[in-house]
C-alpha cells in the first residue's frame, strides 16, 4: 500500500517535471500531441536540421522556426469531444 502510494507520488513529480511522460491512462491525443511537440522542438533545437528543412521548404531559417513554434499550439488538431 505504502509502496503504491510512493510510486504514485514519484510518478506525479515525474509528470510535473517532464510533460511528455505518460501513464497507462494516456490517450492517443495526448501522446500524439506530445510527440509532435517534442519533434518540432527537436527540429528547432538542432540548427543543422533546421537548416536542412528550410532549404527543403525554400524559405529562411527564421521563418521555418517561427512556423514550427506556431505549430506547437494544438499540433494534432482539436482535442476529441468529451463523451461521458
Amino acid at each position: 500500500m505504502a509502496d503504491k502510494l510512493r510510486n504514485q507520488q514519484q510518478l506525479e513529480s515525474l509528470a510535473a517535471r517532464y510533460i511528455g511522460t505518460g501513464t497507462s491512462d494516456t490517450t492517443k491525443f495526448e501522446f500524439t500531441s506530445n510527440m509532435a511537440r517534442d519533434s518540432l522542438a527537436s527540429y528547432v533545437g538542432h540548427p543543422p536540421m533546421l537548416q536542412y528543412m528550410s532549404i527543403g521548404l525554400g524559405q529562411s531559417k527564421e521563418r521555418t522556426r517561427i512556423q514550427m513554434l506556431e505549430r506547437m499550439v494544438r499540433p494534432v488538431g482539436n482535442p476529441p469531444e468529451q463523451q461521458d
Partner: protein
Amino acid sequence: MSDAGTSAKRRAGNKSSTGDQRPSTKQSLTQALDTELYSNGNDKYAGYNTSIAVQDDDDMDDAAEVNGRRLVGQYTATKEMMNEFAHGATEEADILTSREEQAQIASRETEYQRRRFDRNLDGEDQSYQERMKAREIEREEQRVRKIIEDRERNGQNGNEVLDHVPTLKDGAAAAPTVDGDKTPPMEKKSKRKRRWGAAVEIEEPAKEEEVEALPDAEPEPEPEVKEPESKKPKSSRWETTPAPDTPMTDAPADVPAQAPVRSRWDTATAPPAGTTSAAPAAGDVAHPSVPFGFGTDISARNAPLSDEQLDLMLPSEGYKILEPPEGYTPVRKPIGIPQLPAGYQGYMIPESGGNSELLGKQMPTEIPGVGDLAFFKNEDMKYFGKLVDNVDENDLSVEQLKERKIMRLLLKVKNGTPPMRKTALRQLTDNARQFGAQALFSQILPLLMERTLEDQERHLLVKVIDRVLYKLDDLVRPWVHRILVVIEPLLIDQDYYARVEGREIISNLSKAAGLAHMISTMRPDLDHADEYVRNTTARAFAVVASALGIPALLPFLRAVCRSKKSWHARHTGVKIVQQIPILMGCAILPHLKGLVECVGESLNDEQPKVRMVTALALAALAEAASPYGIESFDEILNPLWTNARRQRGKILASYLKAIGFIIPLMDEEYSSYYTSQVMDVVIREFQSPDEEMKKVVLKVVSQCSGTAGVTPVYLKDHVLNEFFKHFWVRRMALDKRNYRQVVDTTVDLAQKSGVADIIGRIVNNMKDESEAYRKMTVETVDKVISTLGAHDVDPRLEEQLIDGVLVAFQDQTIEDPVVIDGFATVINALGERAKTYLPQIVQVVLFRLNNKSATVRQQAADLISRITITMNKCDEDPQLIKLAQALYEYLGEEYPEVLGSILGALRSIITVVGLHAMQPPIKDLLPRLTPILRNRHEKVQENTIDLVGRIADRGADFVPPREWMRICFELLEMLKAHKKGIRRAANNTFGYIAKAIGPQDVLATLLNNLRVQERQSRVCTAVAIGIVAETCAPFTVLPALMNEYRVPELNVQNGVLKALSFMFEYIGEMARDYVYAITPLLEDALIDRDQVHRQTAASVVKHVALGCVGLDCEDAMVHLLNLLWPNLFETSPHVIDRIIEAIDAVRNAVGTPLVMNYVWAGLFHPARKVRVPYWRIYNDAYVQSADAMIPAYPQFDDPELRRHELDIFI
C-alpha cells in the same frame, strides 16, 4: 496604619494576659517572668517569617545567615547545586510521573511558558477601542495589586489587622472591610475610591462581594473584563471566588446575575470527570462546588471548624460573634465527596445533553462516523463528546451538522492513523471556505489550549490552521487575535521546529489579514499589563515585519518606540526591533538606519528596562549587520559610550554587549579610539561576580582584540594583566560555560598578542593541582598552537611547555581526549625542536605502558600513535623501534580497548618506519596478529585489519604464503562484522593477499565460502571475488568462477552471478573482452525459473552493458535484451527494479531507437497490466534521452498526425 494595627494588638495582648493571670504566688511554668527580656512589649515574632514556606528549599538549612553571610563555614554543596536538576530546564524527569504525562508539552514547559494558559480568548469580538480600554483596566489592576504587595512586604501583615481590629470594636463598622487576608482596612471612602474607583465607582454591592470572597484567598482567576451592563459595578477579578491559578470555573456562590459570563475556556479546562459525577449538580446553590484540595487527602483536616469546636477553643468572654454580612453564603464542601483524580482543574458544568454520563464509561477507540482511531484520550471527550451522543442526525440543523462534520475531521486529524489524517486534512482544506472561519476556529483553537496536548497533536493542529489559513485568506480577519493568542507561545518554545511552525503561521496570517489589520489587532497587547504577553507579541511583530517587509512596519515602530503614554509600549517596541535582526539576519541591512533611528532615543530613556532592551536591540542589529553598516550607528555611538560609564549591573552588561558588537564594524582608527574609551569599564567589570557580566566582558574582550585598531602593545599594556589575574583562576575551570568562554577569549587574545606571551602566562598552570584547571590550560595551549604554530616559542618556554604537558598527561585521572590532543599538537608543532625531549617522553610512555591501570596503558599507546610522524622527522627511528618492540610485547593485552590502541600505535610506527626497517620483523609480527583477528571487539578488529591490510599491501613477501592463507580463513569471519568499515577493509585485504600469493588459492577459499548459509557472508564473499578479479585481472578468475556456476546449488550459482556483477562493476570497460565469454552463462541465468536468479543475472547484464557502451558489442546486448524483455511483467519490487535498470543499461549500449521498437508495441495495449510496465519503460527512456526518441516515433498515416517535415528530401 500599621502603627494602629500593631498597637491595637499590643493592647489586646496585654489585656488578655492580665485577665488570664491567676492570683497565684507561684511562678507560672509557661510564663516568662523577665518580660523585659523575652517579650518586651513587641511582637515576639517580629522579624520572623510566620508562614510555612511552600518552596522546598527555603528553610532547610540550619546555619543562620546574617546579612547574607554565613557565620559557619559551609562544607556542603550549595543549594543551587543540590537543586540544579530539580527545577527549570535541567530538571530530571521524575520516574513517577507517567510517561503519558511526560509526553505532554505542558509538562516540560517552564513556569514562564506556562503563562500562556493565563491568556484567554474572551472578549475578542470587541472593537479596538473597547480592547484598549480593557487593557487599561488590567494595567490599573496590576498597579493596585503591586501597591498592595508592596505594603505587605513593608511589614503590614494583614492578618493581625483582620484578626483583632474588628473583633475588639463594638459594632459592625469595620466588618465590611474584611477582604481576603491581605487588604488592610480602609476607613476612608475617598481612599477606596482612589484605589478601586479608577474606572468605576464602588458602591455597597461591591463590598458584599468582597466579603463573599473571603474564605480562601488564593491567586486570582483570569480577569473577566466585561462591560458593565445595568448599574452593576465593573466586575473585577476581586469579586469572584478565587481559584487555584488555573482559570476558574464558575462560582455559583455568586448571585447568578453577577457571575461572569461562562466562556468556552471555563468549560474547557475541566476534565471529563469519571468519578466526579458524584459532585453536586450544577446550579446547586446550597452546595456550591469549590476548588478542591490537591494531593493527598488532607481536606478533612482543612475543613472549616464547626461552631462547637470554635466555642471550645475560643474564650467566651470579651469576644463577640459577628453576624455574617448580608448575602454571604459560606462555601462548604459537602461531606463525603471523594478525592478527585490528579490533574483536576476545576469543576465543569456539564454541557447540555448529559455527556457527563458517558464520561465515566470506557474510552472508546471507535467513534461513530470516524472509524478506528489510533488513540482516544480522556481529555478528548470534552471536545468530541458530541460525536458519541447517538443523536439522530436527521433531527439536527445544518449548522449542527456542519459542526459535527468538522469535529469528526479534526478528531481524525488529531487522533487518527496516518492515512486517515491525510484524507481528513485534505477534506478540511478543500472545504475550508464552505465551513467558514467561525465554525473552524471555534473548534480548533480550544483544542490547542488544552493542557494535556502532546507535540504530535499540536503539530497536526497547527498544520490544520496553516492549511485552512491559506484557503480562508481574508475571511480570517476576525480571528486574527485569537489565533495569535494560541500561536504566539510557539515562538518561545524550546523546540526549534515548533518555533519555525509558529513563525510560518504568523507570517501567513499577516499576509492574509494585511498589515493594517495586524497592527490594530496587536496594538493593544503592546502595553499589556502582563510581561509574557508583551514578550510574545514583540516576537510575533518581528515575524510580521519579516513577512510584510521592514519598511512597511517602520513608521509604526518609530511611533511605538517613542510612545509617551507608557514605557511598556516603548519597551515592547524596542524589543520588536531587537527580534527583527535575530529573525532576519543580514536582510536588515537596507533598513538598518531606520531601525537604529527607531531605538536610538531610547538609550536615554528614564526607565532602566527600556535602556537595557535598547542596548540589546543595538547589539542584535550590529551582530546581524556585521561587518557592514557602521554609518547607521553613528548617531548612537556617543550616547552609548557616555551612558555606559554611568550604568551599573545588568544594564551595563547590556551596554557592553552592544559596544562589543559595534566595535568590530568600525574601521581601524575609530575602533582603537572607541576601544580605549570603553576598556577601563570592561577591565573594572572583570572582577564582577555576576556570571552574565563575566560572559559579556569576555565576549567584548575577544571582539575588541579582533579589530584592526587594537594593537598588541595596547593589549599587553592594558588588558592582559587584568585578564589573567581575574579569569585564569581555578574557579573558572569548574563551570563549563565559563571554561569555554575563557578558553575562546584567550585564543582570540593570542591571535593578536602572539603565542609566546599568552602561553608564557599560562604554561605553569599545566602543573596545577586542579585537574579541571590543567585541562583548561592544555586545551587553550592546543587551540593557540594549532592555529598559530609554535614559532614564537623560545627554548625556555619550549622546555616549560613540554614539562607542563608531560605533567598534565601523567596526572590525568579522567579519560578525555583533550590532554592527548594537546600533547600531540605541541609535539607536532615543535617538530624537530622536540628532538631533545623525545627520549624523556619515550621513557614516560614506556613506563606507563607497563602501568597496572588499563586507562593509563591505553593513553600511552594512543599518545604513541599521535607523535610517530614527529619522531620520524627528528630521526628518532631507533626510539620508535624501541617502542615497537615494547608494544609487540604487549600484544597479549587482555583489555580490548587497550589492545586496539596498541595495534593502532604499531600501525602508525610501521607507517613511518617502513616494513623493511621494522623491528620485530614482519614475519614475526604477522603470526602474532593472526589469532587477534579472531577478536570480536570492534576497535580491535578495525585496527588489526588495518595493520594486516597495510602489511599485505606493502610487504606481502615478508611473510610465507601459508601464513597468508591462514589469514584468509580468518578474514572470512570478518566479513560478518557489523561495521561497514571493517567489512570493506577485509575485502580490500583479500585483494592485496590475492595479488601477493596469486588468485588461485584465495579464490578457492572464497568460492568454498559461497556455500555457507549466511547471506551477509555470501554477499561479502562475492564482493571479495570481484575485488580479487579486479586486482589480478579477470581472466585469472573468470574460468574458475564460471566453472563454479555448474555446481547445481542455488546459493552457489547466485553467489557466482553476484560476484560477476561486482566484477563487471569494478572492471568497467574491460568488460568488453569478456562479453561473448559470459553471454551463454547469462543466457542460462536469465531463463532460470528462480526469479532471484534472474534478478541477479539482470544486474550482471546491467554492469556489462554499461561497461561496453559504444564498444561495438550491440549484437550480444540485443540478444540479452531479448532474454530480459519478458521479465518486464515481474511484480516483486526488487526484481522489477533490477530488470528495468538492465533494460536502461542496454538502451544506453544499443541506442534508444532500437529499444523503442520494443516499447511501442505495448503502450496502447488493451490490457492495463501490459500498458503499465511499458509506460514505465517509456518514461525512463523519455527522461534520459527524449531527443534520441524523435527519429524513432511511429509513423501515422492520418495527415493530422503525420510528421511532414521528415518527408523533406533534398
